[in-house]
């Protein structure tokens, strides 16, 4: 197993991915990483050790909030969901990402 499954993940993109994943419903940490991996068809594998500091940081920034619920295993787990400010932040970051990727895409096609 690679220690750095996403070696070239741009700085800040982990936050974007987490926020986007939480866009539709509230999930616990493991589910977040699973979903990112699944949707990206195993291209993006989140370093699970760095996922939690990122979640806690986002929580401190007020973009996501957490509560404890009973999970599918029948055990209590910490579920994260987007806050209103988080939603706004997601929109900003998504737009920015869109702009970035389009710009890079153009350069790759034409240069």
């Amino acid at each position: 197993m690679a220690r750095h499954p996403v070696p070239d993940l741009l700085p800040g993109t982990l936050d974007l991915l987490i926020l986007r994943t939480l866009h539709t419903d509230s999930l616990h940490g493991w589910a977040i990483s699973e979903r990112i991996q699944h949707i990206s068809q195993d291209v993006l594998q989140i370093n699970q050790g760095s996922l939690y500091p990122a979640l806690h940081r986002l929580e401190h920034q007020g973009w996501i909030e957490a509560d404890w619920r009973v999970s599918e295993l029948g055990r209590r787990a910490k579920y994260y969901r987007l806050t209103t400010t988080g939603r706004r932040q997601l929109a900003v970051e998504a737009r920015e990402w869109e702009r970035m990727s389009m710009a890079i895409g153009r350069v790759m096609k034409l240069a």
Partner: protein, 895 residues
Amino acid sequence: MNVRDVLLRLRALVARRRVERELDDELAFHVERETHKQLADGLSRTDARARALARFGSVSLAADQCRDVRGVGLVDTVARDIRYACRTFQRAPLAALTVVLTVALGLGLVSVVFELYSTLFLRVDAVRSPQELFAVERLTGPGEDARPSFTRADYDAMRRETHVFGDAIAILRPVQTRIEGRRVTSALVTGNFFEMLGVQAAIGRPLMPRDDDRSGGRPVIVLSHFAWSRLFASDPNVIGREVRLNDLPFEIVGVMPEGFRGLGIASPDYWAPLALAGHFRESYAGREDSIAVEVVGRLTSVLSPEAATAGLTIWASRRLEDGKLPARPVAIKLNPSQGTLSTDTMRALIGFSPLFVAFGLILMIGCANVANLRLARGVSRQREIGVRLALGASRWRIMGQLLTEDLLLALAAAAAGLAASRLFFRGALYAATTIVPPELFAVDLARFTASVDWRVVMFLLCGGVVSTMVFGLAPASQATRLELVRTMRGEVTKDPRPDRARHALIAVQAGGAALLLIGAIIFLRGALAAATVDPGVRTTDTVLVPIGNEARRLALIQAVATHPSVATVAASSPPIRAVAEASVSDGAAAGPPAPIVRRGTVDYMAVSPEYFDVLGIDVVRGRGFTPQERTVDAGVVVVGESVARRLWSGGDALGHVLRLSADRSSNSPEPDATPLQSRSFIVVGVVRDVGGGLRFPDLFTFRGVYVPTSRESAGTSLTLRVRGGDTEQARQALVERLSSVDPSLGGIITMKALAGVQMYILRFAFWLTVVLGVLALVLTVSGLFSILSYVIEQRSREIGVRMALGATASHVVRLMLSQSLRPVGIGILAGGGLAAILAMVLTSASSEIASVVHALDPVAYAASGIVIAAVCLLGASVPALRAARIDPIATLRKD
């Protein structure tokens, strides 16, 4: 940083264990969920768990990163630093204790001064919006002192006719009475007093406007918290109780809260309606309108103090006085009235600066000791710090560690300083009351006791932090600047200039001690000199009885004259300035007016015939007054020698004519005195000039003219000569007897106590400076001792080498002594020089200081220098002699 962030951090701090458990649970859940997934993929339980853990990476690392996010790591670091600091203190408890006690001693002393300062100038009274309160004062003339010279009628008119203030109150204070035989002081106030100040009673009710009805107030009083606890033992059932004041029953209707002082520095015992002033002093009865009161107004409107002053000036200048307009515009001044002496903090600070400096010197000397100790400790901790640096600790971590130690010491020192300041305050109060006769104090000192409030606590905390930090920072930063490799090898890196810093500190200490001890000796010699000065009047067996209540005069004179301990009773009025015209006469007063030979101003006082005898004023020529000459109408005067010399050439005044008329050019010092009718007197006697030996108080100096009066005439006070040896006992007996005649009588004082004021002040100053000076000296010597011991320990190898090379024991002792005593000598010289400069500045600023003490007294300078040098020599010789006993073989073998 947003609200949620703060809340989360706070939660992490408060519910620490819970947050930790949640973090563990969260991470454990992840691993378990991953394990579950791997199990579903068909792995065995152990393999699944191993793979899950491997995918996750280090759980504890992730947990640490999560902790970093919530910023609890800092708390952990601080907690660890504190634990570490406590271990350090445990390892060297004596060093820590020395630091704490030394700083606490200095802090305690400085905070006593601060408490006093805070009590006088910072402790604003507990009333609503005190910054809106202004005392209205009338300036008596351009450049003259403001004095409250409004009458009750003025106050009523001001309230009626102006709208400058939201509301205004009038206060009459202090009024002395007795409750159950104990002297109490009160303030008579208008009915809106408490309402305007916005203060509620702690128990019962405050005074109301209806209590102060002008047609006759209600006999009710409101107690202050001080009086409630002192006189009524904090009895909650005191409301409704009746007390007798001047033989009239008054009902207690309320007790005010603690901390409310009624716009004064010290709280009175009770407040009563101003309308009842006539009950408290008979002289007020029937003339309530002309009682002089303090007026305080609340400026709630949009008016600035300047605009309010202007408005009141116009009002006062237009106001009719005795049916006519005032001759010149009345100048009005508004002074902030917040229950402190003055709101001018700058001037107050300057006035207090000598005390702050004197007490601060001790703190500084103590801190110098601490700094020296820490410099020394820093060197001995080099190895420990070197190891930590080598293991990768950052310099900031180690600085933070050392500063945490300082901060802990500072907190301990501040707490101990608080205890010390209470002790010192008691001591100073005890000294003041034992040195100075209590009757000399205008206020009961117990009432005045400064209380510890948040200002004092803040002062102590800041002082503790500043003094330990400033003196800990330099050693801390020095301690972390190490040559790692050499330190690790166990070599002590020699700091570049340790001796110079230490020597400078010792010099500063010796200088401070010299400054204080010189002051002490100057004050002592001043006090001794003042004790032997002849006040010029007989003070051994004379007692002064002022009469404040003219209505009780006859009864008082009767009581005094028949008292068994009283031998003679004399009366005298205060001196008044008058214009004198001297002429030479043949003795026939009725003849045509003789030509005036000289004109001038003189002071005159009215005295009864017994006066010269009671006070032992010798009649040089002629005679004193006869018992029949009891009024000015007798037409005779007695003059002092200097007046005689001034007005008649040759000083032969006897039998000549002196014409006295009122001096209109100056303000009469006693506004109540009856104006002098212009008339001629025949000089019947010449007496010795009185006083002049003492500068303070200047009560006894009188070189003027005496006119006859009697004990019965108003405005005079009584001077008694008592029988038997014990004047103080006689005074107490008189206080006992006379207060039953006039309960408001106060200020019975022996002339001896009055004459001793200068001596008492100097004696108090002596005790203050001598205690401080000895403390400074003890701290200096203990510092010297510990530093020298430390230096000798550090240099034992060098000393061993010297001795091995042939130095004798006396060489070594001399070397050690000369090296450590040189800074002491420099310090003494600097301290002496500073004292001399200070003395010259002070004496040139005020000639009174020069007349009270001899500020450049060579004896003081020499004696304090010798004392300090001798004590330091003694202190230094112990470790120096120990150095001489170093065995060179043993020290050389150590390497």
